[in-house]
C-alpha cells in the first residue's frame, strides 16, 4: 500500500515534470523488429516489424526518419518518425551492417560485410552513387568532425581505413587489434577511438599522424580477459567522459576522455552492444544482446537506473526528439 502510494506519487511527479521527452529506436537483431521507447516514461510505445536481421540504426539528420540496416534483406529501411511505419528503402549493397551520414545528411556511407566494400548513397535521390573497396568484413563507420575523412574498420583485416570523402580514395590504413567494430571521433577531431572486440582493447589514433598513440585496456576482477570484448563507444559532447560497451563482460566501462583511464565499470545486461545518449546527455541507453533489454545509465551519477525489456537480441540504438 505504502509502495503503491509512493509509486503513484512518483508517477504524478514524473508526469508533472516532462524533463526529457525523447524517443529511442532499438533494432532487435533476431526479432526482426524495432522497439520504440519513450524516454520520459521509459516505456515501450511501439514495436515496428522490419526486414531481416536489423542492426545499424540512426536518425536522419533532419530527425524525420529513422534508417535501419536489415542485413539479410540486403537493404536499409526508412521509418517515418511521425507514423512510425516503414516508408522507403535505400539501395545499400549486400549485407549492410553499420552506416554513417555526412553532417548535411545528404550522403550516407554503408559498410557491406559480404563484399568488402563501403557503399556511398545519395540520400535525396535515394541512389547508390559509388563503392569503395576496403578490407575484409567492413564494420565500423564514422566521419571526422570536419567531414573530410570517412573512417571504416574492417574486422578480419584489422584496420581503420581513412577515406578521403571528396576523392573516395583510401589515404591511410591504421592497424589496430583484432576485430575492430566501432569508431568514434572526439568532437574536436583530436582523437579517433576504435574498439577491438577480440583484441579486447580500444585504440586511440592520432588523426593527423594517422597512427595509434595509445590503447585502453580493461581489467575486471573475476573475469577472464577473453570475456572482455569492447564494441560500442559513446562520448559526451565535451569529450570528457566516454562509455565503452564490453560485450560478454556485461559491463560498460566509464573512461576519462583526457587521460584514457578507466574510472569504473557499470554492470548492465548480457552481451552489451551499442549505445546512444539522450540529446540532453542526461541519460545513456545501452543495448544488451543476450538478455533482451536496454539499460539506462544516468550520465551525471554514472549509475544504471533502469532496465527496459525490448525485442529479441537488441543490437543498435538511436535517440532524438520525437
Amino acid at each position: 500500500m505504502w509502495r503503491r502510494c509512493l509509486l503513484t506519487g512518483m508517477l504524478v511527479w514524473l508526469a508533472a515534470t516532462p524533463a526529457s521527452a525523447f524517443v529511442a529506436y532499438v533494432s532487435n537483431e533476431k526479432g526482426n523488429t524495432v522497439t520504440v521507447i519513450d524516454t520520459d516514461s521509459w516505456t515501450v510505445t511501439k514495436t515496428i516489424k522490419v526486414g531481416q536481421r536489423p542492426r545499424g540504426i540512426e536518425f536522419s539528420r533532419d530527425g524525420k526518419f529513422v534508417m535501419v540496416a536489415v542485413g539479410d534483406d540486403d537493404t536499409i529501411q526508412v521509418i517515418d518518425t511521425k507514423t512510425q511505419e516503414i516508408v522507403d528503402t535505400l539501395p545499400s549493397g549486400p549485407d549492410p551492417e553499420l552506416f554513417t551520414q555526412d553532417a548535411a545528411g545528404k550522403t550516407m556511407y554503408v559498410a557491406n560485410e559480404n563484399d568488402n566494400t563501403v557503399t556511398v548513397i545519395d540520400l535525396e535521390k535515394r541512389a547508390r552513387i559509388g563503392d569503395i573497396q576496403v578490407g575484409v568484413e567492413p564494420e565500423g563507420m564514422t566521419i571526422s568532425p570536419d567531414g573530410k575523412i570517412l573512417i571504416n574498420t574492417s574486422e578480419t583485416t584489422n584496420m581503420a581505413h581513412f577515406i578521403d570523402t571528396t576523392t573516395r580514395q583510401i589515404v591511410a590504413n591504421v592497424l589496430v587489434d583484432s576485430r575492430p567494430r566501432f569508431a568514434q571521433f572526439k568532437r574536436d577531431g583530436s582523437e579517433l577511438w576504435v574498439s577491438s572486440e577480440i583484441g579486447g582493447t580500444v585504440s586511440i589514433i592520432d588523426p593527423v599522424k594517422r597512427e595509434v598513440t595509445g590503447k585502453i585496456t580493461f581489467e575486471i576482477p573475476g573475469l577472464r580477459s577473453e570475456a572482455i570484448q569492447p564494441v560500442g563507444i559513446g562520448m559526451t559532447k565535451d569529450s570528457k567522459t566516454a562509455f565503452i560497451a564490453l560485450g560478454p563482460a556485461n559491463r560498460v566501462a566509464v573512461v576519462d576522455g583526457a587521460t584514457h583511464k578507466v574510472l569504473k565499470y557499470l554492470l548492465v545486461g548480457q552481451r552489451v552492444w551499442h549505445m546512444d545518449f539522450t540529446p540532453d546527455e542526461k541519460y545513456l541507453m545501452v543495448t544488451n544482446g543476450v538478455s533482451n533489454d536496454v539499460s539506462v545509465i544516468d550520465v551525471a551519477s554514472q549509475k544504471v537506473i533502469k532496465t527496459i525489456q525490448v525485442g529479441e537480441l537488441p543490437w543498435g540504438i538511436t535517440i532524438a526528439q520525437p
Binding site: 560485410e113 583485416t157 592497424l175 577472464r224
Partner: protein, 393 residues
C-alpha cells in the same frame, strides 16, 4: 644461378629506387594427402579440395589486407599419395615456402617435421588430431591448428555432463584411431564425472558402405547390437573409421540419443555455424568454392590466416620475425568462435572453442559454463600444462 639472378634484380631495383613498391611475397605451402576417405553418409563425403579450399580463402583474405601493407600471399599446393616419398616432396616444397600447412597422418607429419627441422620451416598441422603429436612426440617446428581427440572428447563430455546425461554406453570401432578416440572419451568421462556403464566393440568385418538394399539389413542389425545394455542416458560412439556410428541414431534398442562420431558430434567447424560473425566467412567460402565449409577447411583457413595475421602485425616478410611473433604472448587470432584463439606455449596447440553439431544445427559450443580454469577456460579442453608430456625441441 637463379639466386644470382634475383640478386641482380634486387640490385637493379635498388638502383632505380622507384620500384620499391613491389609487394613483399609470402609463400605458404600446402601439403595434403591424396585419396578421399569413404564416409557412411553420402552428404559427408569430403570434396577433393577439402582443406585446400579453406587455405585458398585465407589467401584471398590475407591479400585483401596485404594490398594495404604491400604484401602478397601465394599458396603452393601439393598432394601426396601413400606411395610417394613424403619427405622428398616436403623438402622440395620447403625450398620455396617458409611455412607449410599440412594435412598428413601423424607418422608422415613427424617424418616431415624432423626432415625440415634444420631449415627453419614451420609446419602448421591442420589435419592430424592425434594427442601424441602434442605430447610425447611434440616438435618445436610444428604448430597445431587442428584440435586434439582429447579436446574434442572433452568438449562433448562437458556438454553431456551439463545436460545430466552422465551414464554413457561406449561403443568403439576396432581400428586404431577408433581406440584412441575411445581412450579420449574414457578420459573425458573420468574428468567430468560421467560413468561408462558398459563398453562394446563394433568389429569391422569389411563390406561396402554403399549398397542398394543396405537399410533393411542395418535396421535389423543395430537394435540387436545395442540390446541388453545396462541403464544408460546416451550412447557415445568412437568410430573415426566410418564403419558403424552413423547407423546408430534412431536404431538403438533403447530410445537414446547418440553422440561422438554420430548424432551430436564435437568439431572445430560446421557449415551451420552462424554466431560471432561466422555467416560472413560461410558466405565468402560458398562464393569462392561452390560448396559448404568443413572443419578441415576451417583449420586450413585458420592456419593460413595465422601467417597473414603475424605478417601484418610484424609488417615483415622475414619468416624469423613472423614465427617469433606467432610463438609470442602477443599473438592471437580471431576465427569466428566468439573469443580470441591463442597458442599453448608448452606444445604449440591452438586453444579453441569446440562446436557440438548434429549435422543440421550447432547445438552448443564448449567449454560449457561452469567449467573453470585458472588461466583460460579453453584449457579445460584437452591435455593441460600440468599433465603434458611435451618437451619442445
Amino acid at each position: 644461378m637463379f639466386r644470382w639472378l634475383i640478386g641482380t634484380i634486387a640490385l637493379s631495383m635498388m638502383a632505380t629506387g622507384a620500384l620499391a613498391a613491389d609487394p613483399v611475397e609470402i609463400h605458404i605451402g600446402y601439403l595434403g594427402h591424396a585419396g578421399i576417405k569413404s564416409t557412411l553418409s553420402l552428404v559427408e563425403q569430403p570434396a577433393d579440395n577439402d582443406g585446400i579450399a579453406g587455405a585458398r580463402l585465407a589467401i584471398e583474405d590475407n591479400n585483401t589486407t596485404g594490398k594495404f601493407l604491400n604484401q602478397r600471399f601465394v599458396l603452393d599446393e601439393v598432394k601426396v599419395k601413400d606411395s610417394d616419398d613424403v619427405v622428398k616432396i616436403a623438402t622440395d616444397l620447403a625450398g620455396h615456402n617458409d611455412y607449410i600447412i599440412t594435412d598428413l597422418p601423424a607418422d608422415a607429419l613427424l617424418k616431415v617435421a624432423d626432415a625440415l627441422r634444420d631449415r627453419g620451416t614451420v609446419l602448421l598441422n591442420a589435419g592430424a588430431i592425434d594427442d601424441r603429436l602434442r605430447e610425447q612426440d611434440c616438435r618445436a617446428n610444428v604448430i597445431h591448428i587442428a584440435p586434439t581427440r582429447s579436446m574434442l572428447a572433452d568438449a562433448l563430455g562437458q556438454y553431456l555432463v551439463w545436460k545430466q546425461w552422465k551414464r554413457w554406453l561406449l561403443v568403439a570401432g576396432s581400428h586404431d584411431q577408433d581406440k584412441l578416440y575411445a581412450d579420449a572419451l574414457r578420459r573425458a568421462a573420468t574428468r567430468f564425472g560421467a560413468k561408462i556403464v558398459q563398453e562394446r566393440t563394433f568389429e569391422d568385418t569389411g563390406g561396402a558402405r554403399r549398397t542398394d538394399s543396405g537399410v533393411t539389413l542395418i535396421q535389423r542389425q543395430m537394435p540387436v547390437f545395442t540390446q541388453q545394455a545396462p541403464a544408460y542416458d546416451v550412447l557415445v560412439a568412437a568410430d573415426e573409421s566410418e564403419v558403424f556410428a552413423n547407423y546408430l541414431p534412431y536404431r538403438t534398442w533403447d530410445p537414446r540419443p547418440v553422440a561422438g562420431s554420430a548424432g551430436l558430434v564435437p568439431t572445430s567447424w560446421d557449415a551451420a555455424h552462424d554466431q560471432w560473425g561466422a555467416v560472413q566467412i560461410q558466405n565468402r567460402f560458398v562464393k569462392l568454392n561452390m560448396r559448404r565449409m568443413t572443419a578441415l577447411d576451417m583449420q586450413a583457413w585458420t592456419a593460413a590466416r595465422m601467417i597473414g595475421e603475424a605478417t601484418s602485425r610484424t609488417n615483415s616478410g622475414d619468416p624469423k620475425k613472423v614465427i617469433a611473433f606467432l610463438k609470442s604472448k602477443d599473438f592471437s587470432i580471431a576465427a569466428f568462435k566468439g573469443t580470441r584463439l591463442t597458442l599453448r606455449d608448452w606444445n604449440l596447440q591452438l586453444r579453441q572453442p569446440i562446436l557440438l553439431a548434429d549435422g543440421r544445427m550447432v547445438v552448443s559450443v564448449s567449454p560449457q559454463e561452469g567449467f573453470l580454469h585458472q588461466v583460460s577456460e579453453l584449457d579445460t579442453l584437452g591435455v593441460d600444462r600440468p599433465e603434458t608430456k611435451c618437451k619442445l625441441q
